[in-house]
Subunit: 485 residues, 2 copies
């Protein structure tokens, strides 16, 4: 680090060289900046001082400083001189600006969990040991034998046509009438949300979400520079009175909802709220982005149909992932697109990654056609219904009565409301020290307005682990001397 | 369609109903608009006329019109009245605005090629029949037996760690020193370009590209609202004098280049140009996005190293796809990230699709570790070297001398310069009628400034098809009575 003017004397310039003096000076100063001998924030000597010190023309210094400033290495502050920039590489990026405000809470994916011996109530991925690989292996081999190298050729950007046909057929059983033309195969639900955001949102546009909601969606909306208005959930769905008054004020481009077994709350919309939401979207002329998060894991005898099945207006973009309750590693989902948006969505998908793996699409197509998907869903539903009942009963047994939750009719997790004296983040830290991983619910609130919810999941646990986890949690919630405020 | 005021009389409003009169009127008018009985552009009756006609208060009509306008169904033009909107669903989107100017030319992926019996000199995908599936099948089965259901669990967003280690090791042989921490696994090169664009570019920023260049990159830059300055290619790389003068003017955030076997021109940068490009990027403080398109298919004895191997400054984002000369359907590539950008790039990847398929990553990791990749590359290089020589000789034999091209030292295609009297688009149409598919080069120029180049590829053809194709092309280029101007 250079402390005073004397150090600048070390700068050697060659008069009458091929390179102009100011360029030589530029390069010497740049070297000092890059080596952090002139760290960010350092004040540079005045033009006159440096010129005197190096016995050169003041104009040469002015030119070198101007060039450094134009290229972002230094900045000048009127009347006070020139300083080395904070980010001399110009890395103030789009993402910085827009997304840093959104904490992405799914840390389990950004970095692997270190404490692997802990009881993991954070993961909502199925226990890999109960997913049967043998059927899939047969399908894989069939595809390789059938399609050979063609299984790996480039794929039509919209998706493998036979798969789109299979999905259109499958959707009929969910009350959704569509066809291969209006389906777009994507690499997981997150990509669908991101593509919808890129298609519909410009900087400054409004998006409505439920609150709590999925933070990955919020991050995608913020990455477009959109503004989020979050509307509280009630037991039977979003607060429609508040929604309407906000619609009147803000005219959003998009309303993002999970009407069945919402993540993280587990709540599902009543039929009345579904219909009213649709008429409001119609009246206020906005699109709905329906994220069908996990509707197959409804343990009711008559499962709810997606909102899309009521969409006579063709204004719902319906996203469904096949990976959530199957194999997240496959990265496979689809969009059912309103006709008026399909061309635009297709374009954005193309720009994003050209196409989803054709190999995966061929595998899944056969898996659907052979009825293996339905069989898998039935198996998983049976297994997790038992897990759910067990988790519910142990929660009732071990958790203090002041902790409340809405009883969902399906899914892989509970959404617990803590008493006001307990902060969710602190509880999660304390739990981790006790070998129990929980999800702090704060990140599910787009503006982090609630710090008293946690999500606990039993997706990846054995019954014994569920019981141990609930016991530890119950103890932490009841003890007075943990670091919980 | 409603032709005159009398038709509005059919609107029935119920006084003293629960719904306010203006909301009833709003809904009736909306219904007429949606059913296109009031098509876009229709002028609505004046407030006074409609109020008289329905025997209601003028204020009721004013309120209904105001509500329709606020929600985007109608617009008013000062002094001239109210009209039904062109896009009543508000579908003027981000994409419309920014990307419609970029024609995406890879139509083979947006829609399947209809004429499958044609000789396809458009496709640059390997002939699927020469890709051996048997080795891959063995690897697949090993992974399934080894990892079982875990092969399909969620994947760390940055990528499967062992694969990143394998890639770091592999890069050493290309002269690139890096480690797993600076690698990000992505779903194909296009995703890498898109992620870099989203990380570095804001609306109005400048990006420099070569011209001609890959249109998928241009589309990704335009989707960020960036402005493209395209710099012509010379035989030994980009025109550096022009580059420097433009750098002085525009201060781009990014320079996008393919220094080895560029797509579509096939040219490679001289060592002198590589070094000078790097010092210019240093001097003018900008990042370089290096797309290593197909460097393995160099038929020289000593293949060129990537620009990244000379990057002492850590300012190159290096993208390499494994799918191009292997299996495009796998969708697998990686970014080697400058350290100062890695956190930001990781975030954008997460928002885009959480992670690339973990199953694919595990397969490819083993494929690399078992030396099968290197074996595959050697096989493919040998096969395509022969194809290349054959294609080169038949081109010399059949194409008229007025058609010229730079002789690349590798790759899967030639970039032909047509005489001025021949328009590339018209030639391609004429060829298609003669059962030959060519790629119109116009789309490779970001501003479509050149209409006299075509790309012909021999990637998917047999030797016999190459010869037939060249013969047809030669005939079309020589005939005077084809519709070629």
């Amino acid at each position: 680090m250079i402390d005073n003017l004397n150090d600048f004397v070390s700068i050697q310039l060659v008069k009458n060289a091929k390179e102009a003096l100011y360029i030589q000076l530029y390069n010497k100063l740049l070297k000092l900046i890059r080596e952090r001998r002139l760290p960010p924030g350092t004040k540079l000597p005045s033009v006159r001082k440096l010129a005197n010190c190096l016995s050169i023309n003041a104009g040469t210094v002015v030119n070198a400083y101007r060039e450094l400033e134009k290229n972002g290495f230094i900045f000048s502050s009127a009347g006070s001189g020139s300083y080395v920039s904070e980010h001399p590489l110009g890395v103030h990026s789009a993402v910085d600006y827009e997304v840093d405000t959104a904490k992405i809470y799914s840390t389990e994916l950004l970095a692997p969990i270190k404490n692997t011996s802990a009881i993991n109530m954070r993961s909502i991925s199925l226990n890999p040991d109960i997913v049967s690989v043998s059927e899939l292996k047969k399908v894989l081999i069939k595809i390789l034998d059938r399609d050979q190298g063609r299984a790996f050729t480039y794929q039509e950007s919209q998706g493998f046509f036979p798969l789109r046909e299979s999905i259109a057929e499958y959707l009929k059983s969910n009350g959704i009438k569509t066809n291969a033309q209006n389906l777009q195969i994507i690499s997981g639900a997150q990509q669908g949300i991101d593509i919808a955001a890129r298609t519909l949102l410009n900087h400054g546009d409004y998006v409505f979400t439920e609150t709590p909601t999925y933070p990955g969606a919020v991050a995608a909306f913020l990455a477009r520079g959109a503004k989020i208005i979050d509307i509280p959930l009630e037991e039977d769905g979003i607060d429609l009175n508040l929604l309407e008054s906000q619609l009147r004020k803000f005219h959003p481009k998009l309303i993002y909802v999970m009407p069945i077994l919402q993540n993280p709350s587990g709540c599902s919309y009543s039929l009345k709220k579904r219909n009213r939401l649709l008429s409001l979207a119609h009246y206020y002329n906005t699109f709905i982005l329906e994220d069908d998060y996990i509707s197959e894991l409804s343990y009711q005898t008559v499962p709810l149909s997606p909102l899309k099945s009521l969409d006579r207006d063709d204004r719902i973009i319906y996203i469904k992932s096949f990976s959530k309750i199957f194999m997240p590693g496959l990265r496979l989902a689809f969009l059912n697109m309103p006709e008026c948006l399909s061309k635009k969505l297709l374009k954005v998908k193309y720009i994003a990654d050209i196409s989803t793996s054709g190999f995966t699409q061929r595998i899944f197509d056969l898996y659907l056609r052979e009825g293996l998907w339905q069989k898998h869903v039935n198996d998983i539903r049976r297994i997790y219904n038992a897990q759910f009942d067990f988790a519910y009963n142990t929660a009732k047994q071990y958790l203090p009565a002041e902790v409340t939750w809405h009883n969902p009719h399906g899914g892989l997790s509970f959404w617990l409301k803590l008493p006001k004296r307990i902060n969710a983040g602190e509880l999660c830290s304390a739990a981790e020290k006790n070998n129990l991983l929980l999800t702090d619910g704060t990140g599910f609130y787009p503006h982090h307005t609630d710090t008293h919810h946690i999500r606990i999941s039993f997706a990846a646990l054995s019954l014994q682990q569920i019981e141990t986890g609930m016991r530890i949690l119950g103890k932490l919630l009841s003890t007075k001397d943990t670091p919980i405020k």
